[in-house]
Symmetry: C2
Subunit: 215 residues, 2 copies
């Protein structure tokens, strides 16, 4: 069985959980507490030198890292039962670009390590951290809303959710956490709403993970 | 002919230029000055709503964005004459993860817009900006050095450079710019050296672009 090393509130872990659930792949989950610094231990770095989650161990012991490459691997290994990338080459490039706009240009800037740095080095408090996070999310969402607002159906690329939604929904979760008003992005909000009622997205949600705190 | 909207010193533009050169694809280059804010004009945002470079216009007018999705598109469109991803699925996932570790976890945090923000909001001067950039590059390179130091040959995955080197070399260029001592990362330094003498990498270098300032 696959083993996923993840943290309940990690956005990148959340992406891989959605992909696994959409593809109906069974896996064991090993929580790595980012709050307790478990990602920075020698044991974990032996698994993933970068010291970040997610990491995925295949049945033969091979360890893969980085959420989007893991998802591309899952897609290549078995496109059934749910394709995560469009068939058409240009649509595929666009879906990947939407995902990259989140994974490269929005999410990293509000990663745990960056927030720790701006607290420690620039003296930012909770309010300052929230302003920083909201700034980068809003900047990214303004551009992505232009794409979402002209989509043809419920989802961004095609009739089913795929890589673009897999990256969007965890980012919307973060946006709400940092006080971003999603009503400013009706297209993105509606895609989020269409996804969150799908069982695979529900099962992957942070609150449903074994290491989530009791409500 | 393909049209590449790029900026000479943009790391993500540099990646696409390397890929195009490795594949020996002719293209027209349209410089977009990030210093003069040309990426934020309505004209450019009509082309790429994100307002960032690179963007690539195909011969039929289709515009693709985000460096790695553009490179994946080029690879799918014509794997010849130079494959940019390994044949083996696990190696491919690893090469993509190496690229993502740079494109997601290192590069975005020292992007122009982030540096502007820490200057304006946190009062950082040139020295502060350099310290910020060096911190994130060194953190990323420490992890990537563990991978580079155990590689089998001159390159990271296989006998020829591909997506991993395409992302690494522009990041090493940035590292030197921000005062990172590459001798601390001998594996990465040697991969860089093996690449920079290859004509495709030379042709893609920032200083060789039409919008680079005179030396």
């Amino acid at each position: 069985m696959l083993t996923l090393y993840s943290y309940w509130r990690s956005s990148a872990s959340y992406r891989v959980r959605i992909a696994l659930a959409l593809k109906d792949i069974a896996y064991e989950q090993v929580p790595v507490s980012l709050i307790d610094g478990e990602q920075a231990t020698d044991d974990f770095k032996a698994l993933n030198p970068q010291g970040v989650v997610p990491a995925m161990r295949l049945t033969d012991g091979t360890v893969l890292t980085q959420s989007i490459p893991i998802i591309e691997y899952l897609e290549e290994a078995d496109p059934a039962p749910m394709r995560l990338l469009p068939d058409d080459a240009v649509d595929r490039a666009r879906a990947r670009a939407f995902a990259a706009a989140i994974a490269c240009d929005v999410h990293p800037i509000q990663n745990v390590s960056v927030l720790k740095y701006i607290r420690a080095e620039y003296g930012q408090d909770d309010e300052g951290v929230q302003a920083w996070c909201a700034h980068w999310i809003e900047r990214g969402f303004e551009a992505l809303e232009r794409i979402a607002s002209v989509r043809a159906g419920s989802f961004l690329y095609g009739d089913t959710p795929g890589l673009a939604e897999i990256c969007l929904i965890p980012q919307v979760y973060n946006a709400r956490r940092f006080g971003v008003n999603m009503d400013r992005y009706p297209g993105l909000r509606d895609v989020d709403q269409a996804c969150t009622s799908i069982p695979a997205f529900e099962a992957a949600a942070p609150e449903c993970q074994p290491d989530a705190p009791d409500p």
